[in-house]
């Protein structure tokens, strides 16, 4: 599956110490009542989503950089992208 996603300008990514937090700043843009904590892989995926890279490229980078099998990386990526899209934090471009 090759898709390209871009980030919503209404969600701010914060990296604090080794923690990753997504803060939606605008009502309606996402589920504003929430903030989200990301794990390390999630944080890296977020950094890699830039409106140009394809999910295939992102998958490759994740599988290279983290100690996961390609299948695990695929699953992490799918799930994460799905929840980001559901909250309106990213959209397909």
């Amino acid at each position: 599956m090759t898709k390209v996603y871009s980030k919503s300008p209404d969600v701010v990514f914060r990296k604090i110490a080794d923690e990753f937090v997504l803060v939606p700043i605008r009502k309606n843009a996402a589920d504003l009542e929430s903030i989200y904590a990301l794990n390390e892989v999630g944080g890296r995926i977020w950094e890699l989503i830039d409106g140009h890279r394809t999910t295939v490229e992102i998958h490759k980078t994740i599988a290279d950089e983290f100690d996961v099998t390609p299948d695990e990386a695929e699953e992490d990526l799918q799930n994460f992208v799905k929840s980001l899209a559901e909250t309106g934090s990213i959209k397909e471009s």
């Binding site: 604090i16 110490a17 923690e19 997504l22 803060v23 700043i25 929430s34 903030i35 989200y36 904590a37």
Partner: protein, 375 residues
């Protein structure tokens, strides 16, 4: 990806605790306060703010630079306060700038100056929380404290506007001699609308050290009795008393997050460990936040409780709010204690079941407090 705020609340609390514990030893300034002004449209009798017209408040550009720097340094929770922050004509610009940096913003306001225009923005870009101080349940008491005719109506109208927009509001009051008989009424009114309410009776001197607020301060007995008359506070204190923790043995004067994970910036650009500690101060017009923060952290961390520090080893530490900030504001000395705080702690211990107040740590004893009260 884990959703951590605000449903369910436990998830958020767990997130907050977890991130705080992770940054604790790293000196990351995760909790910040920025006071936009010390000016206010009200003139509350107990107010500790002291606007100094000879000093120049930070400009919008200066504030934006500081917000960039504190975000970079790891600040996540940001309190925007005053004085009355809405008095600044550029309040909305500052708020929006902070919002876009991804801070979780708490706004303290007296609500008298909120307008539909301000709330339009806040509805679109909501704060994490808005906290409004209410000084009385009736116009008479409220305005006796604020000193401004018509301020009660403005405050009520402001609260209504905030509620109409369904913004995350909390109400609170400073309990003092003028309004303590109305605290339960304020609480019922607030909780009746489904809004969290809290009160605090510990009034401290003005930031200049002037003791004027003490004219209306509750006696230790009345302050503790007020806590005891509130079921929620009573339960909370009893719970605290069931799990007393031992005083820390590390000898550090500061046992809180000030200058470790939290900081305060005043309207004139001075960085400090907290709003009460005016001794350590670093001019952010001359230094970057990072430089000033590093210097402040090391200055705070080397402060040791002196050998004759009264609280050293005191078993009541867990029920006492004494800290160097209070010592400083009350006596101009961070190594001194607030006698009033000490009396309150002793009475709390007695009333809420932490055993009899022992005199370890140099506390004044019960008889002394009671006899003082009778004088």
């Amino acid at each position: 990806m884990e959703r951590v705020h605000s449903v369910p609340q436990e998830t958020y609390t767990a997130f907050s605790n977890s991130i705080h514990s992770k940054v604790l030893e790293k000196n990351i300034p995760i909790d910040g306060t920025i006071e936009l002004t010390q000016r206010c449209n009200l003139k509350c009798v107990q107010c500790y703010c002291c606007h100094d017209p000879s000093k120049r408040e930070l400009s919008y550009d200066e504030i934006c630079r500081i917000l960039d720097e504190i975000a970079e340094a790891g600040c996540l929770w940001l309190l925007i306060t005053g004085g009355e922050p809405l008095l600044r004509p550029d309040f909305l610009d500052i708020y929006m700038y902070a919002k876009k940096k991804g801070f979780l913003i708490t706004l303290f306001t007296n609500a008298t100056l909120v307008t539909p225009e301000i709330l339009d923005h806040l509805s679109k870009y909501p704060p994490f929380s808005i906290e409004v101080s209410v000084y009385g349940a009736t116009k008479e008491i409220y305005e006796k404290i604020t000193g401004v005719t018509g301020s009660f109506e403005s405050c009520m109208a402001g609260i209504k506007l905030i509620l109409d927009r369904k913004l995350p509001l909390k109400l609170k009051t400073m309990a003092m001699a003028l309004n303590h008989h109305e605290v339960s009424q304020m609480k019922e009114w607030s909780e009746g609308m489904g809004i969290e309410f809290r009160f605090d009776a510990m009034l401290h001197p003005k930031l200049t050290g002037l003791k004027d607020p003490w004219d209306v301060r509750l006696s230790p007995e009345d302050a503790v009795a007020l806590d005891g008359s509130d079921q929620k506070k009573l339960d909370a204190w009893r719970e605290v008393c069931k799990h007393p923790w031992e005083p820390s043995q590390n000898g550090r004067l500061f046992t809180c997050g000030a200058g470790k994970n939290s900081f305060h910036i005043d309207p004139y650009g001075y960085l400090r460990p907290c709003d009460m500690m005016r001794t350590f101060s670093y001019d952010l017009r001359k230094h970057s936040f990072r430089e000033a923060w590093v210097e402040m952290c090391s200055a705070v961390s080397v402060e040791k409780a002196p050998g004759d520090y009264k609280c050293r080893g005191c078993k009541m530490t867990f029920i006492c709010n004494q800290c160097p900030g209070w010592g400083f504001l009350e006596n101009g000395d961070i190594y001194s204690i607030s006698e009033n705080m000490c009396d309150v702690a002793q009475l709390r211990a007695r009333k809420f079941g932490a055993g009899s107040g022992n005199t370890k740590g140099g506390m004044s004893n019960e008889e002394e407090i009671l006899s003082k009260a009778q004088r």
